[in-house]
C-alpha cells in the first residue's frame, strides 16, 4: 500500500501531457532500474524468507526449495536470545542519547548562528571533525578513562563508567553532536535575522531567543536529525562492543554478535534474529522516510 501511494504521487502533481507513450529507451531504463531494485531488495527478502522456514525442512530439501513454512524461528529467537530485554537496553541508550545530542548540539549551533564571532569557525570545525574521526583511534585512552571513572551504585551496578548505560549514552552524544551542530547551525543561519532584532526589542533574553524563537522554527531540521540519530545510535556497534561487558546489558545491535554461538548452526534462526533487529529501523524507514532522507542530505547540501 505504501509503495502504491508513493508511486502515484509524482503522477498526481504532473499534468496529463507528461504521460507520453513509452519510448523504447524508457522501457530499457525501467527494465534496468527494475532489475537493480529487485537485486537490491533481494538480500532482505531472502532473510525474511529464510526466517519463515523450519530448519528441519531446509536441512533436507536445501534452501532452494519451497515449503516448511513456520513462525517458530521468531518464537525461539525471541525467547532464547532475550530480544525483549536487549531491545529495551537499546531504548535506554538511544532515547536519552538522541535527546541530549539534539539539545546540546542546538545550543552550540544557536550560538554559532546567532553571533558572528571569529571563534565560531574554530568551534564549528572542532565539533564537525569530531564526528568524522575513526572511533578506534580513541579507544585506548577512552577505555582507560571509562574504567577509572566511578559511578554510584544506583546509577550502574558496575560502579564504573565502563559497562554502564551512562557511559554509552555519553560517548554517543560526544560523537554525534558534531554532525548535528553542523546541520543545525546551517539551518539556523538561514533564519531571518530580523527575528532576533524583534526579540531583543521585546527584551527577550538569549535563552528565550533560543528556546522560544529559534527552536520552534527548527522543528523540521530537528525532526530529520532525530530520525537519523535514532537509526544511527540504535545501529551503533563498536562502542557497545568494547565498552560493555555484561551480556545482559548489551543493546540489541551488538547483542547479535554475542549470540552467534547459539545460532551458529542454524541459519534460519540467524535470519529470524536479524529481521527482529532490523524491524525498528525498517519501521522508522517506512514511516519517516522523508525525515530520514532529509536528514542525510541536509548534512551534505545546505538544506
Amino acid at each position: 500500500m505504501n509503495t502504491a501511494t508513493l508511486t502515484r504521487e509524482p503522477a498526481a502533481d504532473k499534468p496529463a501531457p507528461r504521460r507520453a507513450p513509452l519510448r523504447p529507451a524508457r522501457v530499457v531504463l525501467h527494465l534496468f532500474l527494475g532489475a537493480i531494485a529487485i537485486g537490491w531488495l533481494f538480500p532482505i527478502f531472502w532473510a525474511v524468507l529464510t526466517s519463515l522456514r523450519s530448519y528441519d525442512y531446509t536441512a533436507i530439501h536445501g534452501y532452494v526449495s519451497f515449503g516448511g513454512w513456520t513462525f517458530d524461528n521468531y518464537v525461539t529467537a525471541w525467547q532464547s536470545a532475550e530480544f525483549g530485554k536487549h531491545l529495551l537496553n537499546s531504548v535506554y541508550i538511544t532515547v536519552p542519547a538522541v535527546l541530549l545530542t539534539l539539545f546540546l548540539a542546538s545550543c552550540v549551533a544557536f550560538v554559532i548562528a546567532r553571533f558572528s564571532w571569529k571563534l565560531n569557525i574554530v568551534l564549528l570545525g572542532l565539533f564537525t571533525a569530531a564526528n568524522l574521526l575513526p572511533q578506534q583511534a580513541l579507544l585506548i585512552p577512552l577505555f582507560r578513562i571509562f574504567t577509572e571513572v566511578p559511578l554510584p551504585e544506583f546509577m550502574s551496578d558496575s560502579e564504573l563508567l565502563y559497562d554502564s548505560y551512562w557511559g554509552l549514552i555519553l560517548i554517543n552524544v560526544a560523537f554525534q553532536c558534531g554532525f548535528c551542530v553542523f546541520v543545525l547551525s546551517n539551518y539556523m543561519k538561514a533564519l531571518p535575522r530580523e527575528l532576533y532584532e524583534a526579540a531583543m526589542v521585546d527584551g527577550a533574553s538569549i535563552w528565550r531567543q533560543y528556546w522560544q524563537v529559534t527552536m520552534p522554527l527548527c522543528r523540521p531540521a530537528l525532526a530529520a536529525l532525530a530520525t537519523l540519530e535514532v537509526t544511527w545510535i540504535y545501529n551503533e556497534f563498536f562502542w557497545a562492543t568494547v565498552l560493555m561487558r555484561t551480556g545482559d546489558k548489551f543493546p540489541v545491535t551488538s547483542s547479535l554478535n554475542n549470540l552467534r554461538g547459539e545460532f551458529f548452526t542454524d541459519n534460519n534462526l540467524v535470519s529470524a534474529g536479524s529481521v527482529l533487529v532490523a524491524i525498528p529501523t525498517l519501521v522508522v524507514f517506512f514511516l519517516l522516510q522523508k525525515q530520514f532522507v532529509r536528514g542525510l542530505t541536509l548534512g551534505a547540501s545546505k538544506g
Binding site: T7, W40, I44, A129, L282
Partner: protein, 320 residues
C-alpha cells in the same frame, strides 16, 4: 581554556556589522552589551557540549598520539609509562605480519567503494533524477540497506555466503566458504559493503542534482550538447561541493570500516583492517597499548588529512 577567548569575543559583539548574507546589509546596530545573565547562558551553552566533545573525543585522540611513543601495558599506574620513541612504529611496519594485509585491505576497500560503488550510486542518481514513473519505488529499494547497521548486514549476507546453508553455493553448486576462505572473503565482504554504500551515494547525489540550476542544462541542450556531455561538462563540475563530500564520505567509510569484519571473524584470516587490528590489540588477549596506539595514530593521521579537506570545503561554502 577555550571559554576565555569566548568571553572576550563577547565584548566584540556590538561592533559586529551585520555582514551575514541574510540581512539587508548595511544596517547599523546600536551598541548593546549583553546582560550578565545572557553571557553566563551563552558560555554554558557552548561550554557544556564543548567539554563533552573535547574530553571524550579530542583529548583521547591526543592521548593516543602521546601513548604511541611509549610502552605501557594499559593496566599499571600512569607513572610506569616509559618513553620509547618511534619503536612502536618500526615494530608496526617491520614486525607485525597483519599490518601489510590490513593496509592492503583498507586500500582495496577504498578502491572498491570509489571505483565501483560510488560511480554506480552516481549513475543511478542521474537515472532517477529524470522524471520517470516509479522513481520513488526504485529509490526506496536502493537506500533501504542504508538504514541497516553494518553488523546486521554481515548477518544478512551470511545467509547468502554460508558454506553449507548459503544460497550462493546452492545456486552455483560450489562449496566455497565465502566468509572463511582468505582468498575470497574480502571480495564477498566488499559486495555487502558496496550494497549499502551505493544507496547512500545515490541519495547524496540525488540531492545534489536537485540543486543544479535547470537553466544550465537547458542552455547546454540549446547549444546541442548531448545528455552525456552535458552531465560531464556542465552538471558534474557544478556539483563540486557534493563531489568532495562524497569523496570524503567514501574515504572515511573505508577507513572506519569495522563492524562488518568484526562480526564475521574479528578481522582475521584475510579480513584484516587497521580498525580491527587496533581493537584486537586493546581488548584482545595481549593488550599492547603503545603498539595499538601507534596503529591508531596512523589511522588518525590519514583521516585528519581528509577531514581537513572536508572542513575546508564546507566552511568555504559557509562563507559564501
Amino acid at each position: 581554556m577555550s571559554d576565555l577567548p569566548l568571553i572576550q569575543a563577547d565584548r566584540a559583539v556590538p561592533s559586529r556589522a551585520a555582514t551575514t548574507t541574510f540581512t539587508g546589509g548595511g544596517r547599523r546596530r546600536r551598541l548593546r552589551l549583553l546582560s550578565r545573565t545572557d553571557r553566563v547562558v551563552i558560555t554554558l551553552m557552548v561550554l557544556v557540549p564543548l567539554l563533552i566533545v573535547v574530553g571524550l573525543v579530542w583529548l583521547p585522540a591526543l592521548a593516543t598520539v602521546a601513548l604511541s611513543g611509549t610502552s605501557w601495558d594499559g593496566i599499571g599506574p600512569l607513572s610506569e609509562i616509559e618513553w620509547v620513541g618511534g619503536r612502536n612504529y618500526s615494530d608496526v611496519i617491520h614486525n607485525y605480519p597483519p599490518f601489510v594485509p590490513a593496509i592492503q585491505n583498507n586500500l582495496l576497500w577504498l578502491a572498491a567503494l570509489f571505483v565501483v560503488a560510488t560511480p554506480l550510486g552516481m549513475f543511478l542518481a542521474v537515472l532517477l533524477d529524470k522524471e520517470i514513473r516509479g522513481s520513488r519505488f526504485y529509490q526506496t529499494a536502493l537506500y533501504l540497506p542504508v538504514v541497516l547497521s553494518l553488523a546486521l548486514i554481515g548477518f544478512v549476507w551470511q545467509l547468502i555466503y554460508s558454506r553449507d546453508q548459503g544460497l550462493l553455493n546452492a545456486v552455483l553448486g560450489t562449496s566455497t566458504d565465502w566468509y572463511g576462505d582468505p582468498d575470497v572473503n574480502i571480495w564477498a565482504v566488499l559486495v555487502a559493503a558496496g550494497w549499502r554504500h551505493v544507496g547512500y551515494i545515490m541519495l547524496l547525489y540525488l540531492a545534489g542534482l536537485k540543486g543544479v540550476d535547470p537553466s544550465l542544462r537547458e542552455a547546454a541542450s540549446v547549444d546541442g550538447a548531448t545528455e552525456t556531455s552535458t552531465f560531464f561538462r556542465v552538471v558534474f563540475p557544478v556539483m563540486r561541493p557534493i563531489n568532495i563530500i562524497v569523496l570524503v564520505v567514501t574515504v572515511i567509510e573505508s577507513l572506519r570500516a569495522f563492524d562488518l569484519v568484526w562480526v564475521i571473524n574479528k578481522g582475521r584470516n584475510g579480513l584484516e583492517l587497521i580498525s580491527a587490528l587496533v581493537t584486537s590489540n586493546v581488548v584482545g588477549e595481549a593488550s599492547r597499548i603503545g603498539f595499538g596506539s601507534a596503529l591508531a595514530t596512523i589511522m588518525l593521521a590519514i583521516s585528519l588529512i581528509f577531514i581537513t579537506a572536508y572542513l575546508a570545503v564546507v566552511m568555504r561554502e559557509d562563507r559564501r
